[in-house]
């Protein structure tokens, strides 16, 4: 790629971020959407971020960083992981807009939410 004029490139980048922010930043200030993929880390018996907002078509990957097993189970049972040992991952692609609350069946106090909006 040829080197663009510094100013115009920065302006474009600014405009794009502003648009992205305006279009999709959730009101509660949680994670911004990512078109390619998003990650939820499981650490100290919590899902981080607890609420993740993504566009339809996003693949969300959970990674277990804890020294104990956890699971991912959707309240509406639309997705469910096998037990995740330390370092294990689980991925699910969200196609339909909506709010998906999930929890860990081993430690049901652990809850999280994925918000899918276009």
């Amino acid at each position: 790629m040829s080197k663009p004029h510094g100013l115009s490139r920065r302006l474009v980048a600014c405009a794009v971020s502003a648009l992205l922010f305006a279009a999709a930043a959730p009101a509660d200030g949680q994670t911004a959407p990512n078109a390619q993929g998003a990650t939820v880390k499981i650490s100290n018996f919590t899902f981080g971020p607890p609420t993740l907002t993504v566009h339809p078509g996003t693949t969300v990957t959970w990674i277990n960083d804890d020294d104990t097993a956890h699971t991912i189970m959707a309240m509406d049972k639309s997705f469910r992981s096998k037990p995740l040992d330390t370092g294990d991952r689980f991925a699910f692609t969200f196609t339909k807009p909506g709010e998906y609350t999930y929890f860990c069946t081993v430690h049901p106090m652990m809850t999280g939410k994925v918000v899918v909006k276009g």
Binding site: T68, A69, T86, T101, T105, H107, T111
Partner: protein
Amino acid sequence: MDKTVESGVSRRGLLKCMSWAGAGAVWSVGGGLLASASLDAALAASSPSPSSSRTFSFVQVSDSHIGFAKAANPDARVTFREAVARIKALPERPDFIIHTGDVSQLSRENEFDDADQILGEAGIKSFHVPGEHDMLDEGAGKAFLQRYGKDTQGDGWFSFDHKGVHFVGLVNVRQLQAGGMGRLGADQLAWLKADLEARASSTPIVVFTHIPLWMLYPQWGWGTDDGAEAIGMLRRFGSVTVLNGHIHQVAQKVEGTIAFHTARSTAFPQPAPGTAPAPGPIVVPAGQLRSVLGIRTARFVRGDADIALVDQPLQS
């Protein structure tokens, strides 16, 4: 609901009342009185007495987590085998062993196989209630139930009588709800009600389950959402002992005639309530691991309806 359970004592007050026993403490419970004695004295008292034919003991093991192999314990099989060796070395042969759940780490067949093989080395009849780690197979607990659920009701609960004592095994790890804690469910509570109705109030009752039945530390999910209903049914009995695991440490509380005791794990310790960011495994120096793991012996001495509990570490 809280008022019914706690008879006007605040939850904070009850938490303050709970004491944390050190290695080798002994708790003798009868009529709501709690007394402690040294481990040596208790083991000496454990020698069989020919005069009381109904005196007997049983052993509780918990949270063997077979399959666990992390920094907190490089092989949970090894320490479980040591626990079984402790049982075999007891001065009085226990009538049976109760495993209060989390037999396995991930509900895998080979984990259950290994656990059965190791516990089988004791050559003593055993009873099992599941922990949440035993519900992780595709069938959400079917693997456990096929193995241990032969003479059980519903999803694995059961009761039996032994030498004048009524034993009840409850399952509080099934169909757990998002944001909730342990749960018994209406069907199991209905069964419990009918099961207890047939018993005289003078019958000593021992209940065992995985997650604490009372609200030990709700912030970490250490309680049973509908446990209060079960506790309410147990109130009329003169001597009730509730044994559980899940929290990997010894803790007890007495509420009227009901005594609650949580047991050590044979695999790894967990932090005392609120002393860590999360209730996960604690890594202790290798030389100290066996001092925080252990087994529990319960001994009934008939005539005074007391149950004496000895919490014995794998290594003093």
